[in-house]
């Protein structure tokens, strides 16, 4: 541990974070401390409901603009749709009110706004594509109804997760189980025959069941995060105490690091074999961050980045599709009508949108292939302009930062690690996909959480948010047995509740 205080998790400031804002917002006399018995801090659920209503309102406005700009008939149906969306959100809100009453009130509205905007954009792309002649005389099948269905299923899963998982620390007990399941989920599409695991757009990461297909990798992401967090928490001591110093780095013993490296290797190699570069990058980033947070050693990041760079160069040397990605990143205009087409069209869309955009429904999403999945942020940038794209990025930032705040203020190390990982996962996904479509980094196929079309992504990310809310609830809820401890030394507040291994 970097801190000289044994077991010290953070500073008195951090400890106060859980209490001071609650007291300030509550009915307690100003002099009263957060530990005053008999007073429950406000849950701020009303704030959440208000923000949810605002989100539903914005989504309805967006839908109206799309319909108007696409010259659809404007009917009261839109208002009903908006209200239905608000109803859907209210269910989620009630679940939070019931099972995670102290959870951060800003998280769910952020998700609601992003998901709603995603639905509107997917619908908008449906409208654009239905006029387009697809190769081979195919007919464009509307994606929006499916996405609405997925949203409903995701919300059911979200509520179930909140109810079933009353304490996030329970997950730590199932760390290895999660790890195993995660690996299986990751490997599954790669090893199954192609009639059930078809290769779509060069990546073999789907499982298809009739009309529906899921990406197990989306769930593997969360499962593996749980595993890494549990594993790192239980092995923290070994990471810091045992080990050798090599070149100024304190390396853990090989047998402790073994499972981690193995999991990482398997994950990355599978991703490379399945040609899913984006997920590979995402996994790697999350593992690195978890490792860094658990060990508090920046050296890991250095080692990790070096490892990644070597891996990237090797992949670039070996795989043609990686070379194409890099080539398209360096100069998409070199082959603008073929290999670089997608990224070039994305840049054209973003550039044509400019500062204020072409207006919702006024852009040309039919020009960008995969507009409703990987490139949905490019469509947003075209129709809502830089201003709209920035707003979306800031909503993601708020979401990730609120998650990080939950991680900072929760007391158990598992919660900190998992919460930090989840929050980082949101921000990093956005960095990878938006960075890709705006040519900041090479394009790698990955979904934008809540925005992109895709059931698996939606389900997985709603579970991710349920976990964040759970951690946030744990961080902000008053202790179930509040004990006045004014006479205790302040330093005692800083003790961390260690995870107990299942017996």
């Amino acid at each position: 541990m970097g801190s000289p205080v044994p077991g010290g998790e953070g500073t008195p400031l951090a400890a106060a974070r859980g209490g001071a804002p609650l007291a300030a917002g509550g009915n307690a006399p100003s002099a009263a401390s957060s530990t005053s018995p008999g007073l429950t801090p406000p849950t701020k659920r009303g704030h959440e409901l208000g923000l949810l209503a605002a989100a539903a309102f914005l989504v309805t406005i967006a839908l109206i603009l799309v319909e108007a700009n696409q010259e659809q008939e404007l009917t009261m149906n839109i208002v009903w749709l908006g209200l239905a969306y608000l109803g859907l959100l209210s269910v989620a809100h009630l679940a939070v009110r019931r099972w995670a009453p102290y959870a951060d009130p800003a998280i769910l509205p952020c998700v609601a706004l992003l998901n709603g905007l995603g639905l509107v954009m997917i619908h908008r792309i449906d409208l654009a594509m239905k006029d387009v002649e697809l190769p081979g005389g195919q007919v464009w099948s509307a994606a929006a109804p499916k996405q609405v269905l997925w949203t409903a299923i995701a919300l059911v899963l979200f509520c179930t997760a909140l109810k079933v998982l009353s304490d996030h620390r329970t997950l730590a007990k199932y760390g290895y189980t999660c790890g195993f399941l995660g690996l299986v989920a990751l490997v599954l599409p790669g090893v199954l025959p192609s009639f059930i695991a078809p290769e779509i757009n060069g990546a073999k990461i789907w499982l298809a069941f009739g009309a529906f297909s899921i990406q197990p990798g989306e769930f593997a992401k969360i499962l593996l995060m749980v595993f890494f967090a549990a594993f790192l928490v239980s092995k923290r001591d070994l990471f810091t105490t045992a080990g050798r110093r090599v070149l100024g780095l304190d390396l853990p013993r090989a047998r402790d690091l073994g499972p981690l490296v193995a999991a990482w290797l398997v994950g990355v190699s599978i991703m490379v074999l399945q040609k899913d570069l984006g997920s590979s990058l995402l996994f790697f980033g999350i593992v690195l961050v978890l490792l860094y947070v658990a060990t508090e050693r920046a050296a890991w990041v250095v080692v990790g980045v070096v490892m990644f760079s070597v891996g990237a160069v090797v992949a670039w040397k070996l795989f043609g599709h990686v070379q194409i990605r890099v080539q398209n990143w360096l100069d998409p205009f070199a082959d603008a009508t073929n290999k670089g087409y997608q990224i070039v069209q994305s840049l054209f869309g973003l550039g044509t949108g400019g500062l204020f955009g072409a207006g919702l429904g006024g852009g040309r999403p039919d020009q960008i292939p995969e507009a409703n999945t990987d490139f949905i942020t490019a469509v947003i940038g075209e129709e809502l302009g830089f201003v709209g794209l920035s707003a979306v990025l800031l909503i993601y930032t708020v979401l990730a930062m609120r998650g990080l705040r939950a991680a900072l203020s929760v007391r158990d190390t598992f919660g900190k690690l998992l919460g930090g990982g989840l929050a980082f996962a949101v921000a990093f996904q956005i960095f990878i996909i938006v960075g890709g479509v705006t040519k900041l980094i090479p394009m790698t196929g990955i979904t934008a959480p809540f925005l992109s079309k895709g059931g698996s992504s939606l389900l997985a990310n709603y579970i991710l948010v349920a976990l964040l809310l759970r951690i946030s609830d744990a961080a902000r809820a008053p202790k179930t047995t509040p004990k006045p401890r004014p006479q205790q030394p302040a330093i005692a507040d800083q003790y961390t509740v260690m995870v107990e291994r299942p017996k």
Binding site: S3, A294, L347, T352, G354, L394, A400, L404, T438, L440
Partner: protein, 487 residues
């Protein structure tokens, strides 16, 4: 663990800042580059899926309209036919625009400031802004006649209303069918384009009326005569009448047509010299006036005006350098480096017809909103007084004599025309190159309603024997007759 978590938070913020910075670069700094990239079809598609305004003739006849289609571009441009192509131009998804389609593109596609208020309401109602429409000065029937009369030859007819500068007709042959270039079928467009630009095609995309520059030949004698009248000469003033002279300082002879006498062979009146189109008289006269006066007079008639737009840009008519006396002699009869567009030659005729007052030529009469309400109307714009009224009257009388002297068919019995022909030699070896045939004039001479210029390139089928009177005059008379007959 909070310290590394905070650092992770900082890293997340850094990533977002990077994304925002890069988005700023792409969407704000590089925005125009991407928007205007020729590979970016968005702007084009936007324009082509908007309801473009109409172009209609003065009588309301549609020259360019749109037809709703079911494909992605939503509107198909329809044109009245090749006769009007030099006026409307084309509107192609692949090859861009020309003619009025280009010159008035902002208005037709609806982005013009004059449509601003209507665009704002379109923005609020969420409808695509419609384009404004143009009502032209072009008389559809006259344009068709001019086009028909030019069949079989390469050339141009421009007709102007002298009092206003309204362009009544502006025909050019050979021309093209803009419908083929506006097709939503890219293959059809490409085929048409290839054909129009083929090596053996005779520049059908060239609008000869405004972009064709030709030696004015004898029609330039009108300018020289105007300059002489301004210098105090009258139509009865004596000028050189010799059948042939030698250019000063050279051995080069400069003969009259068929080496004929002018007047008594020694002198002639100015009126006779113009009527008989005596080269010697005007060459000497030009030299007497000097290059400066010639240039000044020509400028008053619209030469050297490089800013003229109708609203399409018009090639600048010019006299050339006139470095030495032989050059001035030759310029005086419209040869050497003098070049003129058919439009400019029509303006010369219109200016004389209008008592010496030059009006700015224009094609667009009214600008109409998408709902066909009039947004603005073009007022006749007087550019300058090129001649005094009495000088103009004198020149008109001389032109009436010229018309009487001009051979060629199609003479009108009931209308007095004032005209001047020209047979413009050009090319390296003038004796072997077929001359261009000119005819400029106006009618009725007493109360002009129409001024025209006709050019037939290379004399049409008359070959080396072509003269303005034989080839161009019948076309001009037919156009005048058609217009005056249809009043």
């Amino acid at each position: 663990m909070n310290k590394p978590l905070r650092r992770v938070g900082l890293a997340m913020m850094a990533m977002m800042v990077l994304l925002l910075g890069n988005a700023t670069y792409v969407q704000v700094i590089k925005s125009d580059d991407y928007r205007k990239n020729p590979l970016n079809r968005r702007v084009v598609l936007d324009q082509y899926s908007r309801e473009r305004g109409q172009i209609i003739a003065s009588g309301g006849e549609p020259l360019a309209t749109v037809e709703r289609t079911t494909d992605r571009l939503r509107y198909l441009r329809k044109y009245a036919g090749p006769a009007f192509a030099p006026v409307t131009g084309y509107f192609s998804t692949v090859y861009g625009t020309s003619g009025l389609e280009r010159a008035e593109d902002d208005l037709l596609n609806g982005s013009d400031d004059r449509l601003f208020a209507r665009r704002v309401s379109a923005l609020i109602t969420g409808r695509d802004p419609k384009g404004g429409s143009l009502q032209l000065t072009v008389n559809a029937a006259l344009q068709q006649v001019a086009y028909d009369k030019l069949q079989g030859v390469n050339g141009s007819v421009v007709a102007i209303r002298p009092q206003t500068g309204e362009i009544l007709a502006m025909a050019s042959t050979p021309t093209f069918d803009p419908n083929a270039l506006a097709s939503h079928d890219v293959g059809e467009q490409q085929a048409a384009w290839r054909q129009l630009n083929a090596a053996d095609a005779e520049l059908p995309l060239l609008n000869r009326s405004i972009a064709g520059l030709y030696a004015p030949g004898s029609t330039f004698k009108l300018i020289v005569a105007a300059a002489a009248l301004a210098e105090g000469k009258t139509k009865d003033s004596e000028v050189d009448g010799r059948p042939v002279i030698t250019l000063p300082g050279t051995q080069t002879p400069l003969p009259n047509f068929n080496d004929s006498n002018c007047g008594n062979g020694v002198t002639a009146t100015l009126q006779e010299a113009l009527a008989k189109s005596c080269n010697t008289a005007f060459a000497v006269l030009a030299n007497e006036l000097g290059p400066e006066k010639l240039r000044r007079t020509a400028a008053k008639f619209g030469f050297d005006d490089s800013d003229l737009a109708i609203p399409m840009g018009v090639e600048t008519s010019r006299l050339g350098p006139m470095k030495d006396a032989p050059a001035v002699y030759q310029t005086g009869i419209g040869q050497r480096d003098a070049l003129v567009t058919p439009l400019e030659n029509a303006v010369v005729a219109a200016t004389i017809a209008n008592g010496g007052v030059r009006m700015r030529p224009h094609l667009v009469q009214k600008i109409l909103a998408p709902d066909l309400q009039v947004i603005s109307e073009t007022d006749p714009d007087e550019v300058t007084d090129a001649m005094k009224p009495d000088e103009a009257r004198a020149l008109r009388d001389m032109m009436i004599e010229s018309e009487k002297n001009t051979a060629g068919g199609g003479k009108l019995s009931n209308v007095v025309i004032a005209s001047k022909t020209g047979t413009a030699e050009h090319g390296e070896d003038v004796k072997k190159t077929k001359p261009h045939a000119w005819y400029v004039g106006f009618a009725p001479a007493e109360k002009p309603e129409i001024a025209i210029a006709v050019i037939v390139e290379n004399g049409g089928d008359a070959g080396l024997a072509a003269t303005g009177g034989r080839v161009a005059a019948p076309i001009g008379r037919a156009v005048i007759g058609s217009y005056l007959g249809s009043r």
